[in-house]
Symmetry: C2
């Protein structure tokens, strides 16, 4: 088992462990009771995950709530049903909410924990690759609105992240790839900014393509660990996204707009991210920020992993631009892009010409 201790500088005494390993679900409550005094638990999950892992999490002190699966259900209405359930079971302030599932479940369970009785303990048990290496770490939780992605939410840190890599075996190809898109994002992040670590994830991806696709657990554990360390290093420096943390949204300015204009139904989050990263590299190349080699190496990696890079719909440029304007990084009505420049360097740009931005749409 791998253990990472995430520290948040801005707040005293706020630190929590990420545990990564096989068969961790078998001893879930042992790990959980180490970090919380909760007497009872509300476990938020969906039908698919419940049928696979519900049995392992059954306990006299735990109630389940099954919510519908998919980014299009990550909204206030479903969030309210979680809070109503907590109230009906008279969950108390010292009790805890557990997220058992992917990023959507983690986001909604986290929002409910942040809102219930002004905040109760929150445990993340991510069961998808995307959630294990990205969304369960860092404390960002949110729900969507038809006018914006993740526009309602919180910085709310979990007490524990429990990543059982066995759960990755049940992912289908599409779900697995959506996680890989975010993982490859970390390769770009590491290549383009100084996150304080030197894993050379880019090379790791080039070298281990087959092992990763065969779900070699040793390699996946390494990958998840490196991504979690990179993310928590960035988050530790900038929990509330005053600066550096925005790098984690590499490719996401386009990705969120893609999700909004397709009502969160057409692409998975990772698919939107890989398209978004391609668009950002195109833009960076077009403006002349990066060399041909840098561009080609990056696009090759995305292609090697068979990720989607082409937007298969035509949303209309104005509609797309309007969706981009709902991004939380927009300041004074200007869209703020995180752009690669050269090795270990990234810059923020907020004055890119609208036609240039929309060139690939």
């Amino acid at each position: 088992m791998e253990k990472i201790d995430v520290k948040i500088k801005a707040v005293k005494e706020r630190t929590y462990p990420i545990l990564i390993g096989e068969n961790l679900l078998d001893d879930a409550y042992e790990f959980i009771r180490n970090v919380t005094d909760a007497g009872r638990f509300l476990i938020v999950t969906n039908n698919t995950v419940y049928s696979l892992y519900g049995d392992k999490m059954k306990d006299d002190d735990a109630d389940f709530i099954i919510v519908p699966d998919g980014e299009e259900y990550k909204n206030r209405e479903i969030l309210n049903t979680i809070i109503d359930k907590a109230l009906k079971m008279k969950l108390e302030r010292k009790d805890a909410i557990i997220a058992l599932g992917g990023g959507v479940i983690g986001d909604m369970a986290g929002c409910a924990a942040a809102m219930y009785q002004r905040g109760i303990d929150f445990i993340q048990i991510p069961t998808t690759l995307l959630a294990q290496l990205d969304s369960s770490v860092g404390g960002k939780v949110a729900v969507n609105h038809k006018l914006g992605k993740n526009v309602i939410g919180f910085f709310y840190q979990p007490k524990l992240v429990l990543a059982d890599t066995n759960t990755l075996n049940s992912l289908d190809d599409r779900q697995f790839k959506t996680g890989l898109a975010e993982a490859i994002k970390y390769a770009f992040i590491e290549k383009t900014c100084n996150a304080g670590e030197d894993f050379n994830l880019f090379e790791f991806f080039k070298k281990n393509r087959d092992e990763i696709y065969n779900k070699n657990h040793k390699i996946l554990k390494q990958l998840i660990k490196m991504c979690c360390i990179l993310k928590s290093s960035v988050v530790n420096q900038d929990e509330k996204e005053k600066g550096l943390r925005a790098i984690l949204n590499f490719g996401h300015t386009y990705a969120h707009a893609i999700e909004i204009v397709t009502d969160y139904r057409y692409y998975t989050h990772g698919e939107a991210v890989s398209i978004g990263m391609k668009l950002i590299f195109d833009l960076a190349k077009e403006i002349g920020l990066i060399s041909d080699k840098y561009y080609n190496d990056s696009i090759s990696l995305i292609n090697d992993y068979g990720l989607i890079t082409k937007l298969g719909i035509n949303p209309g440029k104005e509609i797309f631009y309007d969706a981009m304007l709902s991004d939380k990084k927009v300041k004074d009505k200007k869209i703020r892009f995180v752009m690669p420049v050269r090795e270990k360097e990234v810059r923020f740009y907020n004055n890119i010409d609208k036609n240039m931005i929309l060139r690939g749409i």
Copy 2:
């Protein structure tokens, strides 16, 4: 103008000013722009307050949202309309939400600010006595649910509290008294626990009854200042209510249940609090915790100010007890009471007999 700087120990660099004085609304944006870089503002208010003070707050950079007046509308549905409005006006992460009104407005505007884009700047402009001396200070914001009072909400500190005492002139007798009930609560708090100050509020109330009822601004300013200092002293020691802060809920365990069983419609919050305080003193006397003199002095003060002390409805004991169990201080299904014992001493009791608790209902 009086200025109090509220510090929150638990979080680095978190401090905000409370300004108390006459005519502060005339220079509102000057004070506001001192504490925030917001480019635009969403002002949450109700019809009554808007018609009285809306003109003073009009600005090219400010939009208003008018929400219905009353505790029974302090719910998720109305909160959602505030967030929808912020999204529609494309409020950005650096912008701010302003509460212009009483406690209900402050609670809902604060929740919206806490939830919007993971938290944006929040300004409190309380216009009732209750909000100026109690609810706008301390960072507790919440909405109600039919299953519990203030059960959905946050600890979310404002950037500024601007209390213009002129606004108190427009309060009717009932609204004014609801504020006095919370103010008298501070007299009991000061008498019963060590909040770190020594104002002798109890004597202040005995001495200044007529001045207070005549809305003598010098006296009211003093009163608001003392209550704010007492509250912020307690909050500074215990922002997240791990212990001491629960004292601020003196009388509120009964009060919240009264509000729940009457659907938040029948009594104002302050009326429920004065009934709740009377019930707590009765209980303390019955159990033998306090002397007759302590009891008589306390009840006399409540009566001197003409506050309601008798529950005018019969909710049924079981229904009432069930409502009490939804209190956020309930732990292991036991109701936790803050009880006076003797001068400067208060204790928490969680094993009081159910029949004894419900004796006065």
